[in-house]
Amino acid sequence: MLILIRYTTIIMVLMSAAAAIAQPTVKKNNDEILINQWLDLARDFENENMDSAAYYYQKGGALADRVNSYDGKMKYAFGYSVVLNAKSNFSESEKILRQALALARKNEDALNTAKALVNVGNVFNYKGLFDSAYVYYVEAIPFLKKADATHFLDILYSNIGVLLENAGRDEEAILYYDKGYAIAAELNDSARMATVLNNKGIVLNSLRRLEDAIATFKKAVELAGEDLGILGSAYSNLANAYQLKKQNEPALMNYKKALQIFEKLGDDGGRGQALIGHAIVYFNLNNPLQAEKFAEEALRYLQAQPASRLELYKLLADIKFGLNKHAESRDFFSKYIDLQKEIQGQEIQETIINAEKKFQLAQKEEELAVKELQLTRSELNNRKKNSYLIITAVIILALVVISFLFFRNIRQRNKLFEIERDNLEKEKEVSVLKANIDGAQAERSRIAKELHDDLGTGLTSIRFLAERMARQNDPEQKEDAGKIRKSAQTLTEQMNEIVWSMNTESDSLADLLIYMRAKVAAFLDENETEFSFQVPSQIPDKKVSGFFRRNVYLVVKEATHNAVKHSGTTRVDVWIKTEPELVIHIKDYGAGMPSGNDLNTGHGIRNMKQRVLALGGRIEINQEDGTIVTLTVPYIET
């Protein structure tokens, strides 16, 4: 169970590691930054170099596509569509914006959905498809409100106003402009306020509410401030209002200001409009030469603007007619007529194209829906496939991990097995060695025992032979026999002690003390000496070697023998302490040790010292109302 949990944990850790690799957030962040940098750079180029702007927009867009950056894709679509619109590449602009719209809708992103709708509306607006534009703009309103993005609502209202204006619904247009202005004012955005006012003023102009228009444009000029495009338009519009009011001086002055700004901006359309304004004012001032000069100059800048050109052709026809250049006047007039027809035809065509486009649009939307469905399906399939892949990967991973662990386990077990085997072999060797030693020991014991038995039997035989000899009547022989018998007995006794010390069954401290007590007590009793023994009631269970037992016993025996034989005592007290070391006191109440010259005691003491030293112990002999022999012996682990 524990192993299972361990495996599971390992798999989880590996999976989370894999997940971390699958989502390189750091890299993604780097890409986002790069996309933003490129798109911002593109927007900065918009006012200076459209091609550079286009280049960076494409670059940023491509990267956004590659790393599938939603924000990047949106920013690219809205920015690049502006450039495409400026280049009149409306179809490309529309395509990009529709993709952005679909993406924003899919993500349920209200703000970007609104922006996309407004921008698609703008494209239709630029193309003159005002009905379509109007639909998109109005559709955008609820999304902007949902996104709580009222700060774009002013632009939207302003744009709707333009559309209403173009549809001839001027009063409604003014209402929308006022709504837009209110929002822009709330936002305190003077540029946007100026833009709305420009639009509103144009409606007022066309309604010939010139006083209102002039006031509106003047305000726009004030608010435009640094924004030269808006300022130029404001001056141009103000000039138009003055011109319509036949106030030529202020009209001309404002046209001049507008022309200067548009020249500065390189805005050909604005320039052309300002030049037309100049021409009209001079024409009104009965200065056809000046008028001709400005009109012809305007013609150069208005090639791309058929509506303005139409107005200009008519003006030029009038100017030339006033200058008595009838042929040229006719020429311009016919140009005017042709263009008018063309524009009308174009309008019809555009309506047809518009209808066709709307149809194609519907078709496209259907296709897109189908494609989206397919995409969703394939995505689902992919996901399924991916999940299969992930599951397979996890299973493989798990198998690899498990087999690795298994392998390791086996290896460890093998190792353990080897160690165990080695240990066993070592043990075997040790046991063989031990058996050999034990065998040798046993053999030695056997030999020793046999030797002891033979010796004992021999000594006993000698002793009985000596006794038989003692029964002879020769007193000298009797004495010798007695000595032989005595020697044999002493030797047998000593043999007895050796046999005892060699008996491993007696290898305990208790056995030593009991044996010693019995022997010493018997000896003292035989020699009619009073005695006492103090032995702890609980003798610790300690194993002591034969060597230890023999030496301790012999030292105590020697000490008691010395006391009895040499001190002349009538009493011996022995007391024993067993912990932490073995301490034995032997006290007699005799005359004390004779001076060291005594050969027997001298030899005996030296013997005792040697034996105690051999055990790593010490012996003290103190004279105090007799003699106290104290031997202290540490237990040596055997």
Binding site: G456, T460, A521
Partner: protein, 219 residues
């Protein structure tokens, strides 16, 4: 003239055997009834010449002294067996005691001591040493445990409180004299206690042997 104590000897060493025989015969109280060089001959002859005491050598060629005692003690519980040994080899002595011996006699003892021991034995005493006493204490303790299991309260050997005390003191190396002083009894009483301990041990063994023979369960 008082009755002499009849003693037979089983000892393979001719010199020793002869030495003991001479020792006994030189005494006023003992009579050497027979001497045997091996256990087989003893086993064969003793039923015909029943002594009071048998001095039995532990190490014999062929049948061991212990085995010989074991056979004879069953049929002749009245005979006292005493082990004759060079060393106080507790294992062998203890085995012999269990088989029916009433103590041991060291071959290195003086003549006086040998005769004294035999007299003691005959009078109802028993020679014993600390280590044999210890072994007996352990044997009796084992017996106690056995009876505890079978639910019988008295110990298997019927060792009395006093006998147990004597045995305990003996096992810690006390001399008979010391035990007597400690328990306020005479040395003779101590010896009698020991003798009875031997008897009880042997009775127990005989009962076991009989039960074995009849296949009857012990209480």
């Amino acid at each position: 003239m008082e009755r002499k104590i009849k003693v037979s000897i089983v000892e393979d060493q001719q010199i020793i055997r002869k030495g003991i025989r001479d020792l006994l015969n030189s005494s006023d109280h003992f009579l050497c009834l027979a001497d045997y060089g091996d256990a087989e001959r003893a086993l064969d002859d003793i039923p015909k010449n029943i002594p009071d005491i048998v001095i039995m050598d532990i190490q014999l060629p062929g049948m061991s002294g212990t085995a010989c005692i074991s056979r004879l003690k069953t049929d002749f519980p009245g005979i006292q067996f005493i082990m004759f040994t060079i060393y106080e080899n507790s294992e062998q002595v203890f085995e012999a005691i269990q088989a029916g011996a009433s103590g041991y006699l060291l071959k290195s003892e003086t003549n006086e001591k040998i005769l004294e021991s035999l007299q003691e034995l005959y009078d109802g005493g028993a020679p014993m040493n600390a280590r044999i006493a210890k072994k007996l204490v352990m044997a009796f303790r084992g017996g106690e445990e056995r009876t505890d299991e079978s639910g019988v309260e008295s110990n298997a050997y019927n060792i009395s409180q006093r006998e147990n005390e004597v045995l305990q003191l003996l096992s810690t190396g006390f001399l008979y004299k010391e035990i007597a002083e400690k328990l306020h009894i005479s040395v003779g009483t101590v010896k009698q206690h020991i003798h009875r301990i031997y008897d009880k041990l042997h009775v127990q063994n005989r009962t076991e042997a009989l039960n074995k023979y009849f296949g009857k369960a012990r209480v």
